[in-house]
């Protein structure tokens, strides 16, 4: 009873706090100074048509490196906790997959992987980018594991892809310090023609590595969780 009253008080407190946010919010009719700078000089400084990509990869590139590190850390902890001893694991009895799921996954898995790659290569032109593309690749893996639950995912491949792309991301950043204006500066390559696929300097290259890294990490998490079901 006391517990319920306390919960109610906490909820009311939060509601009052957030109601203040709503009452004080007047709506914006123009960009603030920082966003205005990004919108006006972003295209010539960075050359990326997608301004969110310009902010994520170049203006706040160091934050993105930290974000990728956090994701790597959580993937590493998941695989550490769910490590299974091969001798102790018992195989689950699996029903055979239905014809519809089996056929659909055979068609859709390659298409999903291809779409994920398309999304992170076009991250500087259209909605999308490395993180979204990586998530799409991992969802393709989920579909594959749904239709073939007994299939072994190669953890070695995942580790290799992840390490190489993470290392390349950092090396590109360091190369920016030496050869261009600063860490993760994208003008190392020429900016190219605005709005084409070979534009925005290093942004597509960085996003390809981010996409591969995120895809490998999420695939690793999913594969670990799936394999661990055999033990229960």
């Amino acid at each position: 009873m006391v517990k319920n009253i306390l919960i109610f008080i906490v909820l009311i407190g939060f509601a009052v706090l957030l109601a203040n946010v709503f009452v004080g919010f007047k709506g914006n009719s123009e960009l603030n100074t920082l966003a205005n700078h990004y919108a006006v000089s972003g295209p010539e400084e960075v050359g990326s048509a997608n301004l969110v990509t310009a902010v994520v990869v170049t203006y706040r590139g160091l934050d993105t490196l930290g974000e990728v590190t956090i994701l790597f850390l959580s993937a590493a902890i998941v695989s550490f906790l769910l490590k299974i001893e091969t001798s102790a694991s018992r195989k689950r009895k699996l029903r055979t997959t239905s014809e519809i799921l089996d056929t659909a996954s055979k068609i859709l898995v390659p298409v999903t992987l291809l779409f994920g790659i398309y999304v992170f290569i076009n991250g500087h032109l259209s909605p999308g980018g490395g993180f979204q593309g990586g998530a799409i690749i991992a969802s393709g893996l989920v579909l594959m594991l749904l239709s073939q639950p007994a299939k072994e995912v190669s953890h070695k491949l995942i580790t290799i892809v992840e390490s190489i792309s993470g290392l390349s991301f950092v090396l590109i950043g360091v190369a920016g310090v030496i050869f261009a204006a600063g860490f993760l500066d994208n003008t190392l390559l020429s900016l190219g023609k605005f709005g084409t696929i070979f534009s925005a300097g290093l942004i597509p290259v960085i996003y390809i590595f981010v996409g591969l890294k995120v895809g490998a990490e999420l695939s690793g998490i999913i594969a670990n969780l799936q394999e661990n079901q055999n033990e229960v």
Binding site: L18, N28, E30, A39, P43, L51, L125
Partner: protein
Amino acid sequence: MEKFNLENISLVIGILVILIGLWGLLTQKNLIKIIIGFALFDTGIHIVMVSIGYIKNGTAPILDNAVDINNAANAVVDPVPQALVLTAIVIGLGITALMLTYVLKMYQKRKSLEINNYNDLKW
């Protein structure tokens, strides 16, 4: 009718989702449901952040054929909150995966998802 425009409606929805998530966190006894409450809390905060960055009659901050590049500052919404939310979604995903892993381990040890059965840290 001033309050019934796009940014206010999405702000209210975000606040409601936050409160529902908090309610779920505080009242549910099943560990999986607590994680769902956390995920709702997370999503609500994302909606609030994006709606605060909205500019009246603005479009997505992508300079393609729909946006005149010389007039970009008056046509697009704020890209900074969107980049922040992109970061926050990925980190939220990592945290959710971590919590699910802990719950899986706890279930393998004690065969229970009920939070009342885990009172080792209760005082």
